[in-house]
């Protein structure tokens, strides 16, 4: 390889990371190797230090750059995903182009995954050598600066998304809030009381919904879904599909006469969790925002039955022009935004999957959401807790925790809210019916503020807590004297015996699951899901708000199960991050881009079909290919494909990568045979 690397002066810094690296890798030996064996490759200083990322560690580098005239820096430490920015910053401060620094990952890829010290040290040396060879071929680069659009897209109008939207709008920037249901509000709108304070969910949620609905900076797109996202941080173009409401949004006054007159009654599977009814034209609940009905073409007689329908809604609609439009079509709108916040929420675990608990088979087995609707004064039973017959109050109620959660057969995770939700429901049932309540739990998890106090209070109220995983809910008595009608079979692990508790009603505290389509949604936005289906945050501890895709943030349960305060906090945090981007006005992007050397391009057009971003075009007059730097995302596929070597990829050039390969193989390099 042509060597124009002779005049470079390289500094190598080996981090102990406390004992994280030094416990497995002989860091001194690695530093010595760099200092002595790589002297011929331009290494002029090599040091090891406890924490390179600390201020002193960084100053060490800065000082060497200034005093020893370093022209290249290698830091052997953790993954570049953690501290590349840190060390580039140090170089920049000392006047060295930040892209002349490289990291060698000897923590994640060596110390943490290997145990044999000698082997780990040898591997660390090879990696350092690879990084030195590579950095010698690095070119000084300038970050690409892109302007940030001031608008933000928030996906999901539950409590997390609402919080984000309101915070950004309050700061004076435009927000597009997209919600797939007819109204914003999310799951919280279904609840009655919230733990541990027992304030009414609607009382604290609806003011926020109303504020979002009327905010001059928030544009609601309900009954809509994001279909396509193009672009990159600061410059996203989003296509939103507006499903037909069959009602003119800007004419309808929300008077509700159409709903009143509609003769079709349908089971409400969405808002009322299957235990209430709605009309064929409906708003999901009274405080819906926007207060505009949707017509359900699957049940409206205009569409089904083939007789032209009753058209009662149209007849009685008082607006001019008539708000009902039976042939309304799907619409697509395009939004330009700089940042995106995904607050798409969760789905309830389908309790039918646990057959032995009887949900869907035994009438008086309910889900927590059904009970939640029953407790709600605006719900289908007007706040009364009753059996499936709609009138009898239960005298004995069993509440089963962890249904579908912490269970290898279903979901491994703890849904984090079920314990508190079950305790709250126990309280509400007792308060409303005076019933004897039994809670069956595996472990009580009441970690947040005032949670355990609430649990103590409900214990004092006389709710029984039985520790054990329920084996079965059955309606078959074991003998003539057994009085059910339902029996909860459980091993009481504290008393050390099997118990069979007769009850009238069983409530299954079903867990939280990722949205069924979370993988597809993640793909639309270019972010990844964990194997379980929750969106992956940028860093589990230090950045639970951003994602791997710049300009896309997550909030609420879409990122993992959490309660309302945590969702609100994360929603607000996402807003703060977005605002910080907006206020910066522009952002620096990694200057990893492909470019064509026209003199070398033979015009073969091999690369032309490879770019999914349409960055590559062929210039007919000059018979050469050109790459649009603004569209190029830097994947490097065209660089790898060019047979003439005419395309180069900054940051990941052929020279850099080939040199790194050679460097990594230093200890096994084959000596060419004499000819």
């Amino acid at each position: 390889m042509a060597d124009n690397t002779q005049q470079e002066r390289v500094g190598v810094y080996v981090c102990h990371c406390g004992s994280n690296i030094a416990g497995v890798v002989d860091v001194q030996s690695v530093a010595r190797f760099a200092a002595e064996d790589l002297k011929g490759r331009g290494v002029v200083v090599a040091r090891d230090y406890t924490f390179m990322c600390s201020v002193t560690g960084q100053e060490l580098i800065e000082q060497d750059i200034r005093e020893q005239g370093l022209t290249r820096v290698v830091v052997a430490a953790c993954s570049p995903h953690l501290h590349e920015g840190t060390f580039r910053g140090a170089c920049g401060r000392a006047g060295l182009n930040p892209y002349l620094a490289e990291m060698a990952s000897i923590r994640e890829h060596v110390a943490w995954v290997h145990t044999d010290k000698a082997v780990a040290t040898a591997k660390a040396k090879a990696i350092v050598n690879g990084a030195v060879e590579r950095v010698l071929r690095n070119e000084p680069l300038e970050a690409i600066r892109v302007p940030i659009e001031a608008g933000t897209l928030v996906v999901g109008g539950g409590i997390a998304g609402l919080q984000t939207a309101l915070e950004i709008a309050e700061a004076g920037y435009p927000v597009h809030l997209v919600e797939r249901e007819p109204s914003i509000g999310g799951h919280m709108a279904q609840f009655d009381k919230t733990f541990p304070t027992l304030d009414c969910a609607a009382c604290i949620l609806t003011p926020k919904m109303a504020a979002a609905g009327s905010h001059p900076h928030i544009q609601l797109h309900t009954w809509s879904e994001v279909e396509k996202v193009e672009g990159y941080v600061g410059n996203y173009t989003v296509t939103v599909k507006k499903k037909p409401r069959y009602v003119l949004e800007d004419v309808c006054t929300g008077c509700g006469i159409c709903i009143e007159k509609c003769p079709v009654l349908v089971v409400d599977e969405a808002h009322d969790a299957g235990i209430g009814y709605r009309k064929a034209i409906y708003t999901p609940f009274a405080q819906a925002v926007p207060n505009i009905p949707v017509l359900d073409p699957d049940t409206c007689t205009y569409y089904v039955g083939g007789k032209g329908g009753c058209r009662a809604c149209e007849k009685f609609c008082p607006t001019e022009p008539n708000s009902i439009v039976f042939d309304q079509q799907e619409e697509r709108i395009t939004l330009r935004v700089g940042n995106i916040v995904l607050a798409t929420g969760w789905d309830l675990f389908d309790a039918r999957r646990i057959h032995q608990y009887g949900y869907g088979r035994l009438a008086n087995v309910f889900t927590n959401l059904e009970l939640e609707r029953m407790c709600n004064a605006a719900g289908p039973t007007g706040g009364k807790v009753v059996l499936r017959d709609g009138q009898t109050a239960p005298a004995r109620v069993g509440i089963v925790h962890c249904v579908g959660s912490r269970d290898r057969n279903y979901n491994n995770w703890c849904s984090s809210i079920c314990c508190m939700q079950s305790v709250k429901l126990a309280h509400l049932v007792k308060e409303r019916t005076g019933a004897e309540v039994f809670n069956f739990y595996i472990d009580m998890r009441t970690p947040a503020k005032d949670y355990d106090e609430f649990y103590q209070r409900v214990l004092d109220e006389g709710v029984h807590f039985i520790r054990g995983k329920v084996a079965e809910v059955s309606d078959v008595p074991r003998g003539p004297d057994e009085q059910g009608p339902l029996f909860v079979q459980v091993e009481d692990t504290l008393a050390g015996l099997q118990r069979r508790i007769p009850v009238d009603m069983v409530v299954l505290s079903a867990g939280l699951e990722p949205r069924r389509d979370s993988k597809a949604v993640g793909k639309t936005f270019g972010i990844a899901c964990s194997t379980n289906g929750w969106f992956i945050e940028k860093h589990a501890k230090l950045d639970p708000i951003a994602t791997m895709t710049e300009g896309v943030f997550v909030a609420g349960c879409a990122q993992g199960p959490k309660d309302i305060p945590a969702s609100v906090a994360q929603g607000a945090a996402a807003a703060a991050r977005v605002l910080s981007y907006i206020r910066q006005g522009e952002l620096a992007l990694e200057p990893v881009r492909a470019s064509v050397n026209e003199a070398q391009c033979s015009g073969c057009r091999l690369c032309n079909g490879l770019c999914p971003f349409n960055a590559i075009s062929f210039i007919e007059e000059r018979r050469v290919t050109e790459i649009n730097a603004a569209l190029c995302q830097g994947c490097g596929t065209c660089v790898a494909a060019c047979p003439a070597g005419a395309i180069s990829g900054s940051g990941f050039s052929n020279e850099q990568l080939l040199a790194q390969i050679e460097g990594l193989l230093l200890d096994v390099a084959r000596v060419p045979e004499p000819a």
Binding site: S79, P80, H81, S105, R107, E108, H109, V110, W112, V113, H114, T115, D116, V119, A120, K123, A126, I127, G130, K523, G526, A528, C529, S530, T531, I536, M548, T549, V592, L610, P612, F613, Q633, G634, C635, G636, T637, V639, A640, A641, G649, G651, F652, N654, L657, L658, Q660, I661, E662, L664, L665, D667, V668, A669, R670, E673
Partner: protein, 152 residues
Amino acid sequence: MSESAFEPVIIGFTCNWCSYRAADLAGTSRIKYPPNVRLIRVMCSGRIDPTFVLKALADGADGVMIAGCHPGECHYLEQNYKALRRHRLLQRTLAQFGIEPERVRLTWASAAEGARFAEEVGAMVDEVKKLGPLNWPTRPVPQSEAAAEVAP
């Protein structure tokens, strides 16, 4: 060299968005895997020029592992399919050179799959151990074998 004493050296190409992060996660989760793989980060598996693989083999590696995002999950939409095609072609070329195609393994690991990444490394190392050292370019290629590999 006896088979048990043979410790192959493998170059692993990982993409910035999924497989490199899977390797990071294996680290953070302290999952142990054999130390024979040395990683190179590229932005995408589509960046991997077959020349890199040949270079690694020629320079002393006994095998090359290419790891990208799962099909359909490439950060650049579909470039890992291009890596897949190149890998197929490359394996045929290698066979014609008399090199066992299994020495170049293509695999996928998402950013959440640290354990899978570690398993894949383990499997790759086992495979190459079975094949033995590459010893390229001095490796003798039996004529009949080479001819058989070329036949379609």
